[in-house]
């Protein structure tokens, strides 16, 4: 399979603190890959580097073979990397539909076409009834879905999902897992940060584990739960029994 996104030796320092230490990661086309690790491991920092919010001190990021370091976030979004935020950032001054339309306008200048595409995606995520609702009246689950819808509307090749399941109840988590699988089936490659382990195990083709800015494991999700180092720093003893 072709490599879609290649992270090569990325180092990011904040003053004296090293948030990422020569992290390398490869996401191939059509894959679902998860990044797990304890809080403060540098997972979100990695997302911020990939999407152009932070400039790394060292390293390269190749997207479809081209280096994207130094590009602003909007250019990276235009090239086809979509992302959601851990703390949802809806446009509270707009309705749900309008929020998604902003994403859809990434690929077209026609508002009418953007509306059509946004309606499709809203239907895909099961939010039709709330399309005209102002965003500040939405529940947290709907806001998470809105984040997803908006990012999906930009027609990304790869979608970076930052803890889209945090704060959801088990039923909602299952729905989200199904949605993410459907998105992959539609041809979107997915890189996700997640703490909900059973979702990670159900979804991922591959898992990478970060700890204190270093990658300590990358590979098969079935084996990650048996890796002694991962168990020690993140999963805890009970997961080794699965």
């Amino acid at each position: 399979m072709k490599n879609l996104l290649e992270v090569e030796n990325i180092t990011k320092n904040f003053g004296g603190l090293t948030a990422l230490m020569r992290v390398s990661l490869v996401v191939s086309e059509g894959q679902i890959k998860s990044i797990i690790g304890p809080n403060g491991a540098g997972k979100t920092t990695l997302f911020n580097v990939i999407t152009g919010f932070y400039r790394p001190n060292e390293g390269r990021i190749l997207f479809q073979g081209k280096n994207i370091i130094g590009l602003p976030p909007e250019a990276i979004a235009f090239f086809g990397i979509g992302r959601t935020f851990q703390l949802v950032k809806p446009f509270l001054n707009m309705t749900l539909l309008e929020n998604v339309m902003v994403g859809a306008l990434n690929r077209t200048s026609s508002v009418r076409e953007a509306r059509r595409r946004a309606m499709d995606i809203i239907g895909f995520l099961g939010l039709e009834e709330k399309a005209k609702t102002p965003t500040d009246a939405l529940t947290i689950e709907d806001r998470k879905r809105l984040e997803l819808a908006r990012a999906l509307a930009t027609s990304p090749s790869i979608l970076l999902l930052d803890e889209v399941m945090a704060g959801l109840n088990p039923a909602e988590v299952n729905e989200m897992v199904e949605l993410i699988q459907k998105m992959r089936d539609d041809g979107v490659t997915i890189l996700l940060i997640e703490h909900v382990m059973h979702a990670v195990l159900a979804l991922s083709d591959e898992v990478a584990v970060l700890n204190y800015g270093e990658k300590i494991y990358e590979g098969d999700p079935k084996l990650v739960v048996k890796d002694p180092k991962v168990i020690e720093v993140y999963l805890g003893e009970e997961y080794s029994l699965i």
Binding site: M94, V102, V111
Partner: protein, 338 residues
């Protein structure tokens, strides 16, 4: 469909009423209408960057002032007609707007800091103009009056009604521009930037470019308001068309009427200006009937109270509140208050 017909009829009637106003109102009411439309026009221009894009600027008086001074100086020194001068003024104002905007947006100056920088700009320009003799310093500039049949060619009229029609057309034009913008990609992107700049950028919104575009439109059009004022009063002075005080006056109408709404600034202006007139009447009444002195600032107190009430109870302005009350979520108290 039926709704659209009603809306069209409503606006037709409103348009005819406004167009015909000089035929059935006296000079005093016409004066109030002109000032209200003028403030509504300025507010609508400000609304593009302040209301839609959410970049609260307190520097827009500078652009009004630049418009007024450019056309006036060109006329009194070179004899150039203000009809052309107003476009040069607008281009000049836009250049300054883009310069300050570029510095702010490029280096991600946001929120209160953007407000402070634009406020400083307003004061810098006022102080400069007040101390340079070429600009008339604190005395101000009088526009040489020319009577006769050619007067309209240099934007001079002996009566009020031509000015009324001009400002009416200007207001209609800015409303049309805002209307078209609101429904285009630009409008969506500006609102997204107001909503959350980082999230917008991740959706491919080039925030800097769109904010600069909003700044350019806003500063270009608002400068026309400066020339209009200069020709209407035939006199300008830095503290009348520049400075923080005037900036605040520009911003008041959109805040009261509803920032980021099409008609908010006009509605705000039509509430504010009569309110100010009433305060003046009250001041006069108290002075003559009860020999009360020192009530000169009553209109400012009225403004202040109106502003406090609006921000406390209708943070989205009057139109913002109405829009939110219209939908099925009307019962949700959160919209009305916080």
């Amino acid at each position: 469909m039926r709704n659209r017909i009603y809306t069209t009829i409503f606006f037709l009637i409103l348009g005819i009423l406004f167009l015909g106003a000089p035929l059935y109102v006296g000079g005093y009411v016409l004066e109030i209408l002109i000032i209200a439309l003028w403030l509504g026009y300025l507010g609508s221009c400000w609304n593009i960057i302040g209301g839609y894009a959410g970049q609260i600027s307190l520097g827009h008086s500078t652009f009004v002032g630049l418009g007024a001074y450019t056309s006036t100086l060109l006329f009194s020194h070179l004899g150039a007609t203000p009809w052309i001068g107003m476009f040069l003024g607008a281009i000049f104002a836009m250049a300054i707007g883009l310069f300050v905007g570029f510095l702010c947006f490029r280096f991600r100056v946001r929120g209160a800091y953007f407000l402070l920088i634009t406020m400083a700009m307003a004061e810098i320009f006022r102080l400069c103009f007040e101390h340079i003799d070429f600009f008339g310093a604190t005395v101000g500039l009088f526009i040489p009056t020319i009577k006769g049949p050619t007067a309209p060619l240099i934007f001079q009229f002996q009566q009020k009604w031509p000015f009324y029609l001009i400002i009416l057309v200007m207001t209609a034009a800015i409303l049309l521009i805002t209307f078209l913008m609101e429904r285009s990609k630009i409008g969506f992107y500006l609102k997204a930037i107001k909503g959350d700049e980082d999230a917008a950028r991740c959706l491919g919104v080039s925030a800097t470019r769109y904010k600069l575009l909003a700044m350019a439109l806003s500063s270009f059009f608002i400068a026309f308001g400066g020339t209009f004022y200069a020709q209407y009063r035939m006199y300008i002075r830095p503290d009348l068309v520049m400075g923080i005080h005037f900036s605040v006056e520009i911003v008041l109408a959109p805040i009261i009427g509803g920032m980021g709404t099409l008609f908010g600034p006009i509605l705000g202006a039509f509430l504010m200006v009569p309110l100010e007139e009433l305060s003046w009447l009250l001041t006069d009444f108290l002075k003559h009937s009860f020999r009360m002195k020192g009530l000169i600032g009553l209109h400012l107190i009225t403004y202040g109270v109106a502003l406090i009430l609006v921000i406390r109870f209708m943070p989205y302005g009057i139109l913002g509140l109405l829009q939110r009350l219209k939908g099925p979520w009307a019962s949700n108290e959160k919209f009305v208050r916080s």
